[in-house]
């Protein structure tokens, strides 16, 4: 599957371009919509968790601690919400043109990567204004990103294929993503999570990722905690293998059902 996808990389690039071209068309502020959502989430979270609930984040400002987690989380959430329905929403094209179907969800991930780059630049600006700059361990960022990409790709391939046959998946995604966010230490640090639920937190592949992003991005900068990342690494690889196997097993039926 991936080899076929590589030979059609021009198509993936053009899918990304297509969606980017379409996205802000007929909107007034256009590209500003790429910056607004993470900032708005951050502002609201600061109000609720920092000022009202008074969540403890140690010596670092709450906004930095949260933004370091929001960057990878927003990528994860937006990839899922737009990647999972991507095959069904391209039904017209799908039933008339032969092309590797995986280009559709992968193209969506490309779009989310652009958003990620924007959110990451906002974080960098914040780190030098509100916080104490970026530590050297921030170089781990791309490594963690690749790990997250593997996880996201596995989930999206699996879920987008199932969604073709049972649209329940698409309907469940917004709710699922929302619940997942509350059970991942995004808007609060892992140290604030209830002790009794600690096991669930550690089994959640996003926990290790989000905490590792925090660790490497916030001064003084620590190496990612391998024991925390282990469920993520195993989970991502298993999901990617399963997801790409299932996707390529059923992709020839998409045009009949969609």
């Amino acid at each position: 599957m991936f080899r076929r996808l590589w030979s059609h990389r021009g198509l993936v690039a053009s899918l990304v371009r297509r969606q980017y071209q379409v996205r802000y068309r007929q909107s007034m502020v256009g590209i500003a919509w790429a910056i607004l959502p993470p900032l708005a989430t951050l502002a609201t979270a600061t109000l609720v968790f920092d000022k009202i609930a008074n969540v403890q984040t140690g010596n670092d400002p709450y906004s930095i601690v949260t933004m370091a987690a929001l960057v990878p989380w927003t990528f994860f959430a937006s990839s899922l919400t737009s990647g999972i329905p991507s095959i069904v929403s391209s039904g017209q094209t799908l039933s008339r043109l032969p092309f590797p179907r995986a280009a559709l969800p992968v193209g969506v991930l490309g779009i989310s990567m652009i958003d990620l780059a924007i959110a990451a630049s906002i974080f960098a600006i914040m780190a030098y204004t509100v916080g104490d700059g970026l530590p050297l361990t921030a170089l781990w960022f791309p490594v963690l990103l690749v790990l997250e990409l593997v996880l996201v790709l596995g989930v999206v391939l699996m879920a987008s294929a199932i969604n073709v046959f049972a649209r329940d998946v698409k309907l469940a995604v917004p709710l699922g993503v929302q619940l997942w966010m509350f059970l991942t230490p995004v808007l609060y640090p892992l140290s604030e999570a209830p002790e009794g639920l600690r096991f669930f937190y550690l089994a959640n592949p996003m926990t290790g990722l989000v905490e590792s992003f925090r660790a490497v991005l916030i001064p003084p900068g620590n190496m990612p905690d391998v024991s925390l990342l282990l469920p993520t690494i195993c989970g991502s690889i298993v999901l990617l293998v399963l997801g790409s196997w299932y996707f390529s097993a059923v992709e020839s039926r998409f045009a009949d059902v969609v």
Binding site: T93, L97, D168, V250
Partner: protein, 419 residues
């Protein structure tokens, strides 16, 4: 190997909408197991859109696909294009395939014409630079120059169809699948498409063509495959298959007319329009015998019944493809024999171009009332050995003498020979 080969292709579809498709969800190694264990559940609500289709289409040929709606023509194109996989059987194709399936290419409505051209190109493996070089010629062919930077959703149906055809044409496919595209667009554009397709074929392209327009099919293809209920009924030279197909088509519609619902509708219509078959003083056509058309001449014998009507005239009309009334031979006013009789019509020169025509016989009383009008269930097939003429010139052959050019006889290039 031929450029397209299918071996016993069967495509099974499931009917029913609105439910989750649990059976399709099961991935390959397990689905066969489930089908074995629960065959009743597995094959419930299924039908074969294609059944045991074996085709082999040699390179640089052009082949037509005919059949009623739901015969499996579009499904076959989809299977050949690789959009969907056959349930059983194999499809092998060589070379780049491009197609207009359902007469739509899969444009994105929000993108502009130019963006869609490059998008469609990338779908077929073209680089952006390559497509950028083609934009000018595509927009000239499609005549949408001033609309290139407008989203396709603002295009008229004809414009997007033109852009679709022009883009597909620019992709230089080795195999071209076309589904009723020439049904859209104005006559001028259709002409240009037909000319382009001619050139495409002479340059060695392979064309697979679905259309209900039989005269277009006759001029564009050498071979026709006739599908019915997913099976290949007949496959062979265009003239032979289309003649058979035309007869079957007419048999089918007359069969349908016998059915209760249609008969009632016919009676109702007759009442409403003042036609009468059985009324007092009416005449009725009993039997029509149509001879084989030979050398453009045709003999038709009509047996009629008449009572309380002394005088009337007969009319023998022809209805062409697409229900177009083409023309009629009309008798002088004749004295009708009380009880019934026979009248013979000799047509020296039918004056019709190649095609399938359905005779319509009528008895009309002198006051102009139609006493009986009967469209026959047997088609007259005209086959002329003549030059290829694209669609849009009508069915009437105007007898003419041409002179000039080199010598007295103008030598026209013969593009098609009728088998």
């Amino acid at each position: 190997m031929d450029i397209i080969e299918t071996h016993s292709v069967t495509k099974n579809y499931r009917v029913g909408v609105g439910r989750a498709r649990v059976r399709e969800m099961v991935p390959p190694p397990f689905d066969r197991g489930l089908a074995k264990v629960f065959p009743n559940w597995w094959f419930k609500d299924t039908f074969n859109a294609l059944e045991d289709v074996c085709l082999s289409i040699p390179s640089s040929s052009s082949v037509g696909l005919v059949g009623h709606n739901g015969a499996g023509k579009t499904t076959l194109l989809k299977v050949l294009a690789g959009v969907t996989a056959p349930t059983t059987g194999t499809v092998q194709t060589r070379g780049r395939i491009a197609g207009l399936i359902d007469a739509v290419v899969g444009f994105h409505p929000e993108l502009t014409g130019k963006e869609n051209i490059s998008f469609l190109g990338s779908m077929h493996g073209f680089k952006r630079r390559d497509m950028a070089a083609k934009v000018q010629s595509i927009s000239e062919f499609a005549e949408i120059d001033e609309m290139l930077d407008t989203p396709v959703k603002r295009y008229s149906a004809g414009m997007s169809a033109r852009l679709g055809f022009a883009t597909i044409a620019a992709l230089e496919p080795e195999i071209l699948l076309i589904d009723e595209i020439l049904a859209v667009g104005d006559a001028n554009f259709q002409q240009r498409c037909a000319r382009w397709l001619d050139e495409y074929r002479t340059q060695g392209g392979t064309l697979l063509f679905v259309s209900h327009n039989l005269s277009l099919m006759r001029s564009m293809t050498q071979k026709v495959v006739w599908l019915d209920h997913g099976k290949v009924v007949q496959e062979g030279p265009t003239a032979t298959v289309l003649a058979e197909y035309g007869r079957a088509m007419e048999r089918r519609s007359s069969d349908a007319a016998v059915g209760g619902k249609n008969q009632r509708a016919t009676k109702k219509l007759m009442k409403a329009t003042g036609m009468n078959r059985w009324g007092a003083g009416g005449a009725r056509i009993q039997e029509v015998h149509v001879g084989e058309p030979t050398n453009d001449s045709l003999t038709v014998t009509i047996n009629y019944e008449a009572s309380n009507i002394e005088q009337g005239y007969f009319c023998l009309g022809f209805v062409g493809e697409g229900d177009n009334e083409v023309g009629a031979a009309v008798s002088d006013s004749v004295m009708l024999r009380e009880g019934g009789g026979t009248i013979q019509c000799e047509i020296d020169s039918l004056g019709l171009r190649s095609g399938i025509y359905f005779p319509v016989a009528a008895i009309i009383s002198t006051d102009g009332t139609v006493q009986d009008r009967w469209r026959l269930d047997r088609a007259v097939v005209i086959e002329r050995d003549q030059n290829l003429l694209p669609d849009g010139f009508g069915p009437v052959e105007i007898s003419s003498e041409w002179s000039g050019g080199k010598g007295d006889q103008v030598e026209m290039p013969r593009l098609r020979s009728v088998e």
